[in-house]
C-alpha cells in the first residue's frame, strides 16, 4: 500500500481563480487517482514544478505574471517529459494552434465538460509515464557497457560487482579495502557512475600526497586571512563535491587532526572552512579507500575508532588477483585488446604458454601489475604472438615484482627437452636480472659476484636478450 502511495502520479493545476481551482482539484484527484497541487500564478507554478516534477500540468492561459503559453515553454525546458494541458475562457483557434504547436498536449475551452478534462488528464499522465519509462530505459542502455569496470566471472568478482551496484543506490559512506592494485579507485568510480550523482564528476583526493595543513585547507576550504598566504576565499573539495561523490584515497594516512574534522562532516553533514565561524551544509557522498590494516592503526592510536565506524558503514573488500586467478585469461585478453588498439597492433595474440605463464605467476601488484605487464609486452613483442619470453621481459621492467621461483613456473609440462630448455631460460633470465639489478647494470661487477667469467656472462645476456642499460 505504501509503495502505491509513493508511486501516485502528480498533477499541478494552475489558474488565477481559486474557486475554480478547488473545484478542479476535487474532480481530478478523485477521477484520475493522483495527487493534485495547486498554483494561482504562472511563476508560482514554475516554482512548484521545479521541486515537484509533476507528471501533468493543467494550466489556464490568461494569468497576471506569467501566462499559460509562456509557462508551457518554460516547463518544456525544465523537463520535456511533463505533459501540459491548456485551458482558456477566451480561446481563439489561433491560440489553440499556437499552444499545440508549442507542445501543449491538449487544449480545452471553458466552460468544459468535466469528463473531457478528466479523459485528457488521464491520457496526459499516460504519456508522461511512457516518456519517463523510455528515458530511463535509454539511460540504462547507454550506461550498460562500462558499468563497473570490473571484468571477471569468478565468484568473488561477481559478488563484488553485485555489491557495488547495490551500494550505488544508497547514499551511505563506503569503505573500500583491498591490496594495492586491486582496483579500489575503479570500484569507487563504479559506485559513483551507477549512482544518482553520476551527472557530476567524482572528486578524488589522494590523502598521503598532501601535507597535513594543506590537506585540511584543501578539504574544507578557507576564508581570506585565515592564515598567512590566504589572500582570497577558497572553496574546499567538500564544497566542490557538493551533490556528488568525494573519494578519499588512502584514508589511513590522514593525520588525526584532520580525522576529527572529517568525523564531524560525516556526522553533521556540514563543513567549517578555516577561519570561518559559520558552518555550511553539504550533500556529499564519501567513499574512502585504504590498503592498510585500519584495525592495527586503531590499536596504535593512529586512527580514530569513531571515524572508523563511521566510514565502515558499508565495507567492500576487493579480492587480490590470487583469489580470482580463473579470471586472469579474461582480464589478459581485455587488456591486450585495449593496448593493441591504442598502439595500433590489432591482431596480436597470446600463445597458450603465455596465458599459462600469466595464470601461474604470483601477482603481488594484483590487477594493476598484470595490466602493466601486458601493456609493456604489447609494446615489446616483435611478431604476431605474445610469448612467455615477452611477458618475462616485461615483468623485468617492473621494479616491484619479485623474482619468480623456478619451481613455480609453467613449463613443467610437455616435452622434457623443451621444458628443460624453458626452465633453464627462465632461471638464467631471472638470475642475470637479479645480478644486474644489484650491480646497477655493471656487467663486470655482476659477473664477478656471480662467479662467472665476464665474457660468459655477456654471452648469456645476449642469448636471452638482456641489456645492461636497462639496469643503470
Amino acid at each position: 500500500m505504501k509503495e502505491k502511495d509513493t508511486l501516485k502520479r502528480r498533477v499541478l493545476i494552475v489558474d488565477d481563480e481559486e474557486d475554480f481551482l478547488f473545484l478542479l482539484k476535487k474532480v481530478i484527484s478523485r477521477k484520475c487517482d493522483c495527487d493534485v497541487s495547486l498554483a494561482t500564478s504562472g511563476l508560482q507554478a514554475l516554482e512548484i514544478a521545479e521541486s515537484l516534477h509533476p507528471d501533468a500540468v493543467l494550466t489556464d492561459i490568461k494569468m497576471p505574471d506569467l501566462d499559460g503559453l509562456e509557462l508551457l515553454k518554460r516547463l518544456t525546458e525544465l523537463d520535456s517529459t511533463i505533459t501540459t494541458v491548456v485551458m482558456t475562457g477566451y480561446g481563439t483557434i489561433e491560440m489553440a494552434v499556437q499552444a499545440l504547436k508549442d507542445g501543449a498536449y491538449d487544449f480545452h475551452q471553458k466552460p468544459f465538460d468535466n469528463d473531457k478534462i478528466v479523459g485528457s488528464i488521464i491520457r496526459a499522465l499516460e504519456r508522461t509515464h511512457l516518456l519517463r519509462e523510455n528515458r530511463q530505459l535509454q539511460h540504462l542502455l547507454t550506461k550498460a557497457p562500462p558499468k563497473t569496470g570490473f571484468t571477471g566471472r569468478s565468484k568473488p568478482i561477481v559478488y563484488t560487482v553485485e555489491l557495488l551496484s547495490r551500494l550505488a543506490t544508497s547514499c551511505a559512506t563506503v569503505l573500500i579495502r583491498g591490496e594495492s592494485g586491486t582496483g579500489k579507485e575503479v570500484a569507487a568510480r563504479a559506485i559513483h557512475s551507477m549512482s544518482k550523482r553520476a551527472d557530476k564528476d567524482m572528486i578524488t583526493v589522494n590523502c598521503p600526497a598532501l601535507p597535513e595543513h594543506i590537506l585540511e585547507s584543501e578539504l574544507f576550504g578557507y576564508v581570506k586571512g585565515a592564515f598567512t598566504g590566504a589572500e582570497t576565499d577558497k572553496d574546499g573539495l567538500f564544497l566542490e563535491a557538493n551533490g556528488s561523490t568525494l573519494l578519499l584515497d588512502e584514508i589511513a594516512d590522514i593525520p588525526v587532526s584532520v580525522q576529527t574534522k572529517l568525523l564531524r562532516v560525516l556526522q553533521e553533514k556540514e563543513i567549517q572552512p578555516l577561519g570561518q565561524t559559520k558552518t555550511i551544509k553539504v550533500d556529499v557522498r564519501v567513499i574512502a579507500s585504504t590498503n592498510q590494516n585500519l584495525e592495527e592503526k586503531m590499536e596504535r592510536g593512529e586512527f580514530r575508532e569513531d571515524l572508523f565506524y563511521r566510514l565502515n558503514v558499508m565495507p567492500v573488500t576487493l579480492p587480490p588477483l590470487a583469489k580470482i586467478r580463473e579470471d586472469i585469461p579474461l582480464l589478459a585478453h581485455q587488456f591486450l585488446g585495449e593496448f593493441a588498439l591504442e598502439y595500433e597492433r590489432e591482431g596480436l595474440e597470446f600463445t597458450s604458454e603465455a596465458i599459462q605463464f600469466l595464470m601461474q605467476k604470483s601477482w603481488k601488484g594484483n590487477v594493476r601489475q598484470l595490466k602493466n605487464t601486458i601493456n609493456r609486452a604489447t609494446l615489446l613483442c616483435k611478431d604476431q604472438f605474445i610469448t612467455p619470453e615477452d611477458l618475462m621481459a616485461s615483468v623485468r621492467f617492473d621494479q616491484n615484482s619479485e623474482p619468480e621461483p623456478v619451481a613455480d613456473c609453467a613449463f613443467l609440462t610437455g616435452n622434457y627437452r623443451d621444458a628443460k630448455e624453458k626452465t633453464v631460460q627462465r632461471f638464467t633470465t631471472a638470475y642475470l636480472v637479479q645480478a644486474l639489478k644489484k650491480s646497477d647494470g655493471n656487467v663486470s661487477a655482476a659477473a664477478r659476484q656471480s662467479g662467472v667469467d665476464r665474457q660468459a656472462f655477456q654471452r648469456l645476456m645476449r642469448k636471452y636478450g638482456i641489456k645492461s642499460e636497462d639496469f643503470r
Binding site: G91, I93, A96, V97, L100, K101, D106, F107, H108, Q109
Partner: protein, 119 residues
Amino acid sequence: MAEILTLDDVQDAVVLIRKILSRRGHTVHTFTEEEDAIRYALKNHIDLAILDIKLKKMSGIEVLAELKRLQPEMKAIILTGYPTVETARDALSFGANEYCVKPIDKQELESKVEKVLQL
C-alpha cells in the same frame, strides 16, 4: 520548387490554390476526390499537402493520416471553414504543420506555404 498536392471537395478552391502557388514556381496537383489524392501519393513524391477538412467521404484529417503513413516526411497544411479546437488538436497530432481558417487570402497562403516548406 516544391511538389504540392491539394485536395478540396470544391473544384474552384483547388484551382485557386494552384493559380496562386504555381505563380511562385511550385508544381500543384489538384484533387477533389480523396481516393484520387491518395492514389497519387502512392506513386509520386509530395513535399506538401494542403487539405480541406470537409470532403466528400472522408475528413481531411483522415486523409492526412493516410498520406503521412505513405510519406512521413511530407509537410501538411489543414484548411477549414469550420474551425474547432478538436479538429485543430487532431490535425496537429496527426502531423499537420499549420491549421488555417478559411477564407484565407493570397498573401497569407503564400507565406504559410513558404514557412512550412522551410521547416
